[in-house]
Symmetry: C2
Subunit: 795 residues, 2 copies
């Protein structure tokens, strides 16, 4: 871990915070009003910029006070063989590791030979802020060098949403009354992250050797590039840099290059009030198969095009893009500005993290850190897809397309495991299974069903039956086929799915996980529905698909029978659904005697010690109550939520948003609020203390679900979009929008009533609780806020 912030690790003293929050209140900005060296690590994550293709951590341009600078390209990785102390057949063979690539942020400055370094000299003023509407990170400060030269610096940084290969740094300084010699270096170089000595299993293991091999470099006037190839995957990456320099003072420019580094050096004989401006465009291209020279050309064109457009245009485009994003995605909360701030921060980061080219997806830490090696998990489908499906369906489509594009790998994996059909990997970049711990990896067979659940939701909400026909059906049938083979009819029970791990990773290798069985049942049923629809609506396509994947009608019948015979564990005595066959035969975890420092349990107990008890890392049965909610009545939900809520440690960041949704539905509004707040401010307030390693992307996305599903009470079941909103005491209003096909529906929840209106598109029928409402235009339809108090307490 690169660091010249010597005492970060040791510092335990809490920073003074505004109302207990890490940043001052501002609804559209994340403001760092002063510089604190101990905050550097977390801030590098918070101020990360990205566009789903490229991510740049918020480390200082001047290369001082760094924690762990990082620049990441989504889908750009290297592999190495996974070493097992004891291996077995079918274990994942190769790791996939997202690489820390060439850093183009470097703009350092020496004033009379003293480095610009905020941890030295005197900082007269300082402010850094991320504006969520302009998508720009700005830093301004006035600093006096140790020998007494005052200087003002303003830098802005942007990673373009509309030009995915491009990042921009506009760096300006002005001397404040004293002349000086300035030496400014603007460069690009590569420092791969080497992790070691970290005992947190959630962080990637240390890797030996470097993955990036320098193949070519060049530095000319204004323009330069570095080209690398990955050691094992043989993939090429090009980083091209363009520096535009302007000052009235006398200066010289040198194009320099050292091993694996290129830069321009500006030596300026600056007067008392000299101003300097450096405009730096950096572009990145990578490919596994393109001609390297072609990548060079593309990268070159990209920066030249940006130079021609100019900074203002690039800034303007960014604003326009975000304006559109916020139009459909923004959520307003009146009465809770802290929450408002973090909610927008979260959605902004979700957007920044999301690969949207159909070839990439969303890493567990977005493009802000290398935790989990940059792998994609079910987080995408279960935590992020709802947000995109109901706000920006094009992105949802691209994410699902990624799964289609890796269907071949999923087929290979199923075959390796001697099953027909396809099995999607628990964690991956390239579509191959990369989980080195199968009890909480491959055993999470629910992944297939999670993806298909998201597919159905996307197709229903967007009406994109073209996707379903062209891509969805094939994935659906191949994964259904897998499940049918995985399960077995067990005498006296029905169709059972044994030896799986559900979402709760504190129990593994179990039989008849409630969540998995319900999801598989749903999946098999949906596969039949889609087959019937396709046969009727697109008989030729259906015939061609059946031919291609050798699907026959008998299989469909088998799936249907299995779905009908699916065994659903239930304990009639208690009215509880056991998480799995054996769950209730275990003792409950001794929460009483578990000291707070012993959480998360996974860092302090052997898996065996955890698996032995009833204890949850994250919702499992409770997640089923959300995703398969129509199957449970209110009393069942209450009973089961009450039971499982007490078993939940919340040790996973995937936990609180789900707990919040069902708590809201049950009318436990203040409990829902508490869970929601934990969700909402997790990264901004660094609640888990590890935001320095990257954001918790799924939690951020889950935040949208918590609000829209939870407090908005939205459910989209059986083609009926229904709302049953709740309003926590503190809030006076929630406002959000939901996209259904080409219609954009606005929902405003106030204490005195819920207002529904149509902002865009065709008229739509929705439901307020059980009542059908027609939305025809912007005229609001108002209904009273549902009274969720027990009957005898109502007015």
């Amino acid at each position: 871990m690169l660091s010249n912030v010597s005492n970060i690790e040791e510092s335990t003293e809490p920073q003074e915070r505004s109302h207990g929050h890490a940043f001052p209140l501002d609804e559209w900005q994340i403001i760092e009003p002063s510089f604190e060296v101990r905050e550097v690590p977390a801030r590098e994550t918070v101020f990360s910029l990205g566009n789903g293709y490229l991510g740049v951590r918020g480390s200082f341009e001047e290369r001082r006070c760094l924690y762990s600078p990082g620049t990441y390209l989504n889908g750009f990785y290297d592999t190495e063989p996974i070493v097992y102390g004891e291996k077995a057949y079918g274990f994942a063979r190769h790791s996939q590791r997202m690489l820390n690539v060439t850093d183009g942020t470097h703009v350092s400055c020496h004033i009379d030979e003293e480095p610009l370094d905020l941890s030295t000299g005197t900082l007269r003023s300082y402010r850094r802020w991320l504006d969520l509407r302009s998508g720009v990170l700005t830093r301004e400060f006035e600093w006096v060098s140790p020998s007494g030269v005052p200087i003002q610096v303003r830098s802005i940084r942007l990673v373009s949403f509309l030009r995915p290969h491009l990042t921009l740094i506009d760096w300006q300084c002005r001397l404040l009354g004293k002349p000086a010699y300035l030496s400014i270096v603007s460069g690009a170089d590569t420092f791969e992250t080497v992790r070691s000595g970290d005992h947190d299993p959630r962080v990637a293991e240390s890797k030996s050797g470097e993955s990036l091999l320098l193949r070519r470099k060049s530095i000319g006037d204004e323009l330069g590039y570095l080209r690398y190839i990955t050691r094992r995957t043989g993939s090429t990456m090009v980083c091209t840099m363009h520096n535009g320099f302007a000052t009235d003072a006398y200066h010289t420019i040198r194009n320099e290059s050292t091993d694996g580094e290129i830069h321009h050096r500006y030596s300026i004989k600056a007067g008392a009030n000299t101003e300097v401006r450096l405009t730096k465009f950096v572009s990145y291209y990578h490919s596994f198969d393109a001609d390297p020279a072609r990548l060079n050309a593309l990268s070159d064109i990209e920066v030249r095009r940006a130079v021609k457009s100019g900074v203002e245009t690039v800034l303007e485009e960014q604003k326009m893009y975000l304006n559109e994003f916020w139009t459909s995605s923004d959520i307003q909360i009146d009465g809770d500005p802290w929450l408002q701030q973090s909610l927008r921060f979260n959605l902004f980061h979700v957007l920044q993290s999301t690969g949207r080219d159909g070839r990439t997806n969303i890493g567990a830490k977005g493009l802000t850190g290398e935790g989990y090696e940059g792998h994609y998990f079910w987080d995408t489908e279960i935590y992020a897809l709802p947000f995109y499906t109901y706000t920006t369906p094009l992105i949802a489509r691209r994410l699902l397309l990624y799964r289609y594009n890796t269907l071949g790998k999923a087929r290979e994996r199923a075959e390796e495991l001697h099953h027909p059909g396809a099995l999607y990997p628990w964690r991956t970049i390239n579509g191959e299974e990369a989980s080195a711990y199968f009890p909480a990896g491959t055993a999470q067979y629910h992944l297939n069903a999670d993806i298909m659940y998201a597919l159905r939701q996307y197709v229903r909400a967007s009406g994109d039956t073209v996707f379903l026909k062209q891509y969805g059906a094939e994935m659906l049938f191949e994964t259904a086929r897998f499940y049918y083979d995985l399960g077995d009819y067990v005498h006296g029970k029905g169709f059972c799915v044994n030896m799986v791990t559900g979402p709760n990773e504190y129990t593994t290798l179990i039989n008849n996980n409630l969540f998995t069985n319900l999801m598989v049942q749903d999946h098999l049923t949906y596969a039949n529905e889609v087959a019937r629809w396709l046969e009727e609506e697109h008989p030729e396509d259906f015939a061609a698909l059946c031919e291609r994947i050798r699907l026959d009608a008998g299989e469909l019948t088998e799936w249907d029978n299995a779905a009908k015979a699916m065994y659903i564990p239930y304990d009639p005595d208690s009215g509880l659904y056991p998480q799995d066959d054996s769950f209730f035969s275990k003792a409950v975890w001794n929460f009483h005697d578990t000291a707070p420092r012993r959480y998360p349990l996974l860092l302090h107990y052997h898996p065996l010690s955890i698996y032995r008890f009833q204890v949850c890392k994250q919702p499992d049965v409770v997640l089923a109550l959300v995703l398969q909610g129509w199957r449970f009545d209110a009393e069942e939900k209450r009973r089961n939520f009450d039971y499982y809520d007490a078993l939940n440690t919340g040790d996973s960041s995937l936990s609180s948003c789900i707990q919040s949704i069902i708590a809201a539905e049950l009318g436990y509004v203040e409990r829902a609020y508490e869970y929601f707040m934990k969700t909402a401010r997790m990264d901004l307030d660094d609640i888990n203390g590890n935001v320095r390693d990257g954001i918790h992307f799924a939690n951020m996305a889950g935040c949208w679900m918590s609000l829209v599903y939870g407090f908005g009470g939205m459910r989209d079941w059986h083609g009926r979009l229904r709302f049953s909103p709740r309003l926590p005491k503190k809030w006076s209003r929630i406002g959000f929008r939901v996209r259904l096909s080409d219609s954009l529906i606005q929902v405003q929840v106030r204490r005195d009533g819920v207002e529904y209106s149509l902002v865009e598109g065709e008229p739509r029928t929705i439901y307020h609780e059980e009542e059908e409402l027609s939305l025809v235009d912007e005229t609001p339809v108002v209904r009273p806020l549902p009274d969720i108090r027990p009957a005898h307490l109502r007015d």
Copy 2:
């Protein structure tokens, strides 16, 4: 893998075998009557010599036609950090790997500059044989060099049982009618095994770097040594070599040394019938803490002492030692000489493998190969201890003492896992857990009980209550304490032990494994018995022990209550004992559609695919029927054996000996015979095709159990030594001896009657079936062979 036998791997053609057996019939010798290059790998294992401290594989002295030469010192290992793709709290941290140390067998010869190499030239005659009574390996051949010089060579090799540090090679040659220049080199050098590209998970993973660092070496007249230190454990090893050379011909001797190698070179101008004799003594010492110079001195003294004693004395001692061994350990079988041969071969190898200094134990492949990294498993207690307990109790004691000497490590492991007491490791050399796959490692909590089971058996049979008092009780109480904490009272069931893995590694992480629950119940009961006995018989020792390990009476009561409340899974409808809570809710493995080449399953199926079904790698319930046999009636045994026998793949070499025992008990004598034959000739006939990697020690030891427990029908329950022999059709007699305290009892089973007699020691009461017999001297007491046919078929 060192090899100059180029086509060994590719050769699939079966060798011509005598009656389908690999070696000609001889009851006390394993004879290789001809040289076949393709047999070299297996023969290096078969002709391995060892004494429990030192093991030397049977590779040729001349360093030609090698497969994988190996010299091993029990307990001498190096470690390295275990790398996990995904790690978790409590995972074993360091590997322990038995090292391939300095090879002292090297005696190579050039004849007129052509190397002596049996794969070249002409082999006129060849014979190699291992004599199981003299403990000597001899090779004789006549060979004609490519350029036509005939030579006769005779070498004998021995690893001394009475001088554990010593090995001897006595090498002689004679020219047969033609003069020649001979160049003979006798040396010692080290080539560590580097394994790679091997996809068998039962073989150790490849390791990087060398473990042995040369610290010092010396070569003088006749004497030389090499001293190494291990890279990580810092342990020292010294190998000292003494060469005695004799010939009448003119010769020169040079003392030479190259990097990491020492040797003497003899250049001989040999006449037509010149004879040469080279007598080589090599000694090994290793220690973790001794002064290296002291090891040098010890090693030096050892060879000098041997030189002084002379070859004849060393040979004589070996014979005496083995004579004593066979007196109590031999088993005779009339009517089945092939079996007789392999039975002796197996017991000989068990003896060779067994560490007996209280600091070492028995590796899964003895000292014949590096498979399983030389680790010690439960194989010792469950498979080998019965043999030693009833034949050579001193060795049993030493093996149990090893466990006592590692009790501290077992305590540390329990503490790491947040349990009181002690947990013995699943696999280890130094007492620390080295299993990198906990579902089939640490989860096999039955290890504690296995050791205590062996302890009780040893104490009962030997009457060694001193051991129980001084060592046993402490281990017993600490492990009982662990179990009590591990289990939980579950409503409606009783005391449950959840989340364990039983002996059958084709099912892991289960609740209430029948075997484990029965063994733990037995263990807790025994702990109380011993506590009561100690309190009564040795109150001061008891008080001191309680004080030392802070044991109070309340704990004893808790153990007793838990034992009484132990949940024993049972299905009254079928009369079957489920292997665990979930076993019967799984489908039965599809044996019908599993091609023979797909066995062993573990090499062809993902663990999840195996765990999902009812299928056994090795006996689990069936092992409980053997070890806890008094708890089941005959009908229960028959029902459960019939059921589980059909599920057994026999994929583990620990399988067939146990199946054989219970089959014999049930009167399935011919089935018992089949299982027994698989057990008995597994390594000699290379039934599993992997004997080249080392012996299957547990199976070899299990062979004794199969015979004495199975066909001998011996049971030692509740202080009653009982026999109920069976005789397979083919056999006319079984004879074996059993030691009880100071008495040696002889049993002869013939078709016309079973003869019991007292060979040594005090009179003893035994049981023939239910009848009490008094043995007072060598006068045989004869009883009819039990009639095991169903009642209506009896005479």
